[in-house]
């Protein structure tokens, strides 16, 4: 028996092609490379200039999500909703994938969607894999016990050309979450609270492993929400040990193993969990039971309070003051008096079926307030279809919300869906950075439940009264 190891250490060790030394980083093998239209054109151009092929197109999964419109696209003209640059980028992606033999889940595919939604949905995301993508929210896939992290375009080129990356081994941070969530509180509130506690740089240089009762009692959608925002704490990745919920989610999906391969995969996946006496470089613990719905008040995800709590004063810190000025908020007052212009339910953080269901449960039989624009954007075409099969589209449309095709949409202002200058948006996305949702847009990050309640009340609202009514 070797020394006890964490989940991360096991997955890392299984993928080391060449060990790291003091002089050189490790060569790490990549099992799944997810690619999208925004961070790959320059990498394909590099391959072309060097005369290199995509070495393992079979381990490369391509889609279009960031600069794609969420209005229906049937002709080239429809692409122009997002602007000429975006349309050209989408067409370049089609050209690149065709030229290099990579299967693209494009506009004609029923599998198109946000890259971090379709990887798991297609069963391509699996426990124990190394997964990278030119996108920081690749941490999402860690919910399955994969080691998944975001890379830049130069590294996208490295993986396309060699299926490997040069990496230094990161440190580990264990986060234990005990207890159970109160009604109206969930995964988004937990991860916002964690970021608030450890800070937006609290995970720098580390891979986080989330564990404890609150984590293992979550479904896969919720686990993905938690791992997704690991990067907002600066972490390289976030991981959760695979368990029965993971296996149940994956069984029968398009790329999942079948027959005897399934059984041997599950038995291998069971061995990935951190050994009982394994230790982390750092550890943090918190309790889910005392959590309340969380909302951000500033311009990074660590500036977060519970929904009824007054905005803090920051003790005269200049960066803090600058953030409050941008948000047009005053210390000492809760956000619940703040008028809302836009509500966005979507993004790789919160666009899965259970997210949409949670928002719909609150909106059922109610109306989005006059003057509020609410946009609901499913994470994939498959989720859109599944939601329509159970009538969620009707709930949203009857409430006065817009129901769109899948894509990154209003999470980042580059596809035609934007929040106007000075408007306040309650958003289920992951970043409240200045200008993220549009020039001068003011973003309050929240859960799908809080977003739905805020749409009804036209102000930042606590969702719990709606949950209690339902009960």
């Amino acid at each position: 028996m070797g020394a006890p190891r964490t989940l991360f250490e096991k997955v890392w060790a299984e993928h080391v092609v060449v060990e790291e030394t003091a002089e050189t980083p490790a060569v790490l093998y990549i099992d799944l490379h997810l690619i999208h239209e925004v961070t790959t054109p320059q990498a394909f151009a590099l391959l072309r200039s060097k005369g290199l092929p995509v070495r393992r197109p079979d381990l490369t999964l391509a889609t279009m999500d960031h600069s794609t419109p969420t209005t229906p696209v049937s002709t080239i003209k429809d692409l122009l909703v997002a602007g000429e640059g975006a349309a050209a980028q989408i067409r370049q992606m089609e050209t690149n994938c065709a030229e290099f033999g990579v299967e693209l889940h494009g506009f004609d595919s029923a599998h198109r969607g946000i890259v971090h939604v379709i990887g798991p949905e297609l069963g391509a995301t699996q426990p124990g894999k190394t997964i990278v993508c030119g996108d920081s929210h690749t941490s999402t896939h860690g919910a399955f016990g994969a080691l998944a992290f975001g890379i830049g375009t130069t590294e996208v080129g490295h993986v396309l050309a060699t299926q490997c990356l040069l990496q230094r081994k990161p440190k580990t941070l264990g986060i234990d979450v005990s207890g159970r969530f109160a009604p109206g509180v969930g995964a988004k509130d937990l991860i916002l609270s964690i970021i608030g506690q450890i800070g937006v740089d609290g995970g720098t240089g580390h891979v986080i492993e989330y564990h404890g009762e609150a984590i293992s009692s979550m479904g896969m959608d919720e686990r993905m929400t938690v791992c997704n925002m690991s990067i907002e704490a600066g972490a390289r990745a976030g991981m959760i040990a695979p368990d029965e919920a993971t296996f149940e989610y994956l069984q029968g999906r398009l790329h999942s193993p079948t027959g005897g391969d399934w059984d041997s995969a599950v038995s291998r996946w069971r061995s990935l969990a951190s050994d009982a006496d394994a230790s982390f470089d750092r550890s943090v613990s918190l309790s889910a039971g005392s959590l309340e719905p969380m909302v951000t008040f500033g311009t990074n995800p660590g500036m977060v309070i519970s929904v009824n709590e007054p905005v803090p004063d920051g003790g005269g810190d200049a960066s803090f003051r600058k953030a409050l000025d941008y948000m047009q908020l005053e210390p000492g007052k809760p956000l619940t008096n703040t008028a809302v212009d836009v509500v966005f339910v979507g993004s790789c953080t919160n666009s899965r079926l259970s997210d949409l269901q949670q928002a719909a449960n609150i909106l059922q039989g109610r109306k989005v307030a006059d003057g509020v624009r609410m946009l609901v954007v499913p994470g994939s075409q498959q989720i859109k279809k599944a939601a329509e099969e159970i009538g969620l589209d009707k709930v949203f449309l009857e409430a006065g919300a817009e129901w769109r095709e899948s894509g990154c949409s209003m999470c980042l202002g580059m596809n035609g869906d934007t929040v106007g200058k000075g408007q306040l948006s309650v958003s289920t996305s992951n970043r409240n950075f200045e200008g993220r949702q549009g020039i001068g847009a003011r973003t309050v990050l929240a859960s799908p439940m809080t977003a739905a309640a805020s749409a009804i009340e036209a102000r930042v609202a606590d969702p719990r009264p709606y949950i209690e009514q339902a009960n």
Partner: protein, 194 residues
């Protein structure tokens, strides 16, 4: 990549903490398929007002900042999105090194791949640099030192391999391709296939 050994320049200072890559280059400029010419969009919404006029109070718009190749940022510079357009924009604008007390992981990686030197300094040095915009500093990449105006040379941490690649102007893809025998062997011998 061009070899980088020494950088001698005055500093420009952006003291705000947690400057994210959306501020460095907003997403709407990411619809390009090229890596050229992104300097025009660097810090776009901080540099320019709604009419496209330069904001006089923004650090890089001040006369003293013209030609500065070293940018000093608040703690946790480059957090957020993995967009490599951020270091591309900084380099295209003329910035060759970024100094902070902490630099986000993906941004730091991307910077090193492109010859933008990420430099972590202690809080006291950082405070001095934040309080004194425009001082002349010298960066010796091979020695990993930052020399301040008083002549004191401060060591900064940098991965040895990344430093070697910077100083020699080595493309890391070439190094990875040299590992192909090991990569092929790994693929043949692994107990399961993805």
């Amino acid at each position: 990549m061009q070899a980088i050994t020494k950088i001698q320049s005055r500093t420009a200072v952006l003291p705000t903490r947690d400057i994210d890559t959306d501020q460095i280059i907003p997403a709407r400029f990411l619809t390009t398929t090229s890596r050229e010419g992104l300097g025009a969009y660097l810090f776009h919404d901080l540099r320019f007002d709604a009419d496209g006029k330069a904001r006089p109070d923004f650090a890089l718009n001040q006369a003293a900042a013209v030609g500065c190749e070293v940018l000093v940022g608040g703690n946790n510079f480059g957090c957020g999105s993995s967009r490599e357009h951020a270091p591309w924009a900084l380099l295209d604008y003329g910035i060759r090194a970024v100094i902070s007390t902490e630099i986000a992981d993906i941004f730091r990686n991307n910077s090193l791949k492109n010859g933008l030197v990420p430099i972590i300094v202690d809080p006291a040095t950082h405070d001095f640099l934040l309080a004194n915009p425009g001082v002349e500093v010298e960066i010796d990449v091979a020695k990993s030192t930052l020399t301040l105006p008083d002549g004191s040379a401060i060591d900064f941490p940098i991965d040895g391999f990344a430093r070697y690649c910077l100083v020699e102007g080595i493309d890391q893809l070439g190094y990875l391709q040299q590992q192909m025998d090991d990569i092929l062997k790994f693929e043949e011998q692994r107990p399961w296939t993805p």
